[in-house]
Symmetry: none
Subunit: 210 residues, 2 copies
DNA sequence: CACTTAGTTCACCGGTTCTTTACAAATGTG
DNA sequence: CACATTTGTAAAGAACCGGTGAACTAAGTG
């Protein structure tokens, strides 16, 4: 779970389906973007890379296959296609076009999320390793999610606190605005107060001195 | 992966799928053979042994199950079945017939290749060494699938419980999220509730403190 | 069939964590 | 200095999380 927040881009013209999926993904800690058309999706993907694309094949305007092709011109993001049952033709076409997986409608949200996870895992596997950051005498253990402070004692921050510390330590020396921190640590779709950061910082300072 | 070139034999009556898979496998350094019918596949396998057989269940002429049976009469090559969704009957039958794994359609080529690799790996390490993990006074016996607790008594967890314990013990000290645990212990395609993990953990704790 | 066991899901509770808010202190600016 | 802006602190309520009992399903057994 360490590492950057995961984001998915859904390309789907049915708002009801999109809203439903948004719920599931956000509850699971993903950032969720929704594009109504293929053109919009391609444009979005150019602007902000995501961890995976969920691509409905039945789209107004350019269809899913074409969308997939255009995306593949510049992005290697995993693409999961959402297809109607039994459309074998589309399936083969889609896979040739560079899709990574398929889910046939109707699908359960859980199944879809499992596929997304499988795809992400495959993509992330080579790199995934528990790291340890050393900053100013602090040893921040991403595996144990603990911090060894200079005095010798070991602190166990809460989840948010640790994510926050990890982010700051990764970019040690760089000045980060509150909204930058919120974006990365809390997730891009978080609309909370920026002062929340202050409170967590304070909590961290308290825990890390001593 | 030292040794002879890896070769797979696909038994599949759909040329489009076959061509698509050929691309994936050959790009990955496999030799790729394609048979359209069960009879043809059996004959091929007699002539030239392969590292793995990918066997579509829906075949003209003799079906996948029968093909599998005939192959097993003379070959121990790993067989991966390609089945339509929801054909539980076939699945069980296939595994009883001696298949090593199965993949439900539609599948992603990458998923299929991952399965092939897994099967090959298993085949190459014939004697799965029964290991024993020692963590915090617990002796976890992967062969017997039992646990000797510090007090001296020996516990026999259920299958899931043991797999869960084994995974945690292998990564002793590391913090694992529920979804990480689900992915590894339950399997990548598991769609269940994350709280299931809690319940099994509780059960383990109960059994291990004694 | 009744009965057992394993596995999964759910609802609830109590404690922790997170977020917001309000205000004080510090800092910047004319 | 007077004022605005930013930062630190404390407290309180909301939201969340982990532990638990229990219901339920599925599979195996006598």
């Amino acid at each position: 779970m360490t590492g950057p927040t995961r984001a998915v881009l859904l390309v789907e013209d049915d708002d009801a389906i999109a809203d439903m999926l948004r719920g599931f993904f956000e509850r699971d800690g993903y950032r969720f973007f929704h594009a109504l058309t293929g053109e919009e999706a391609v444009q979005r993907l150019r602007l902000r890379p995501v961890s995976a694309v969920l691509l409905d094949l039945n789209l107004p305007g350019i269809d899913g296959i074409e969308t997939c092709r255009r995306m593949r011109e510049f992005s290697r993001a995993p693409i999961i296609m959402l297809t109607a049952r039994d459309s074998e033709v589309d399936k083969v076409l889609g896979l040739e076009m560079g899709a990574d997986d398929y889910v046939t409608k109707p699908f359960s949200p859980r199944e879809l999320m499992a596929r997304v996870k499988a795809v992400l895992r495959r993509a992330e596997e080579p790199a995934a390793k528990p790291r340890i950051l050393e900053v100013q005498g602090f040893e921040i253990d991403g595996g144990k999610r603990t911090v060894a402070v200079p005095s010798g004692s070991v602190v166990e921050p809460t989840a948010r606190e640790f994510d926050l510390l990890w982010f700051l330590a990764e970019n040690a020396g760089l000045v980060m605005s509150r909204s930058q921190i919120l974006e990365v640590v809390w997730g891009y779709e978080y609309f909370g107060e920026t002062r929340t950061v202050d409170v967590h910082i304070r909590q961290l300072r308290k825990k890390l001195q001593g």
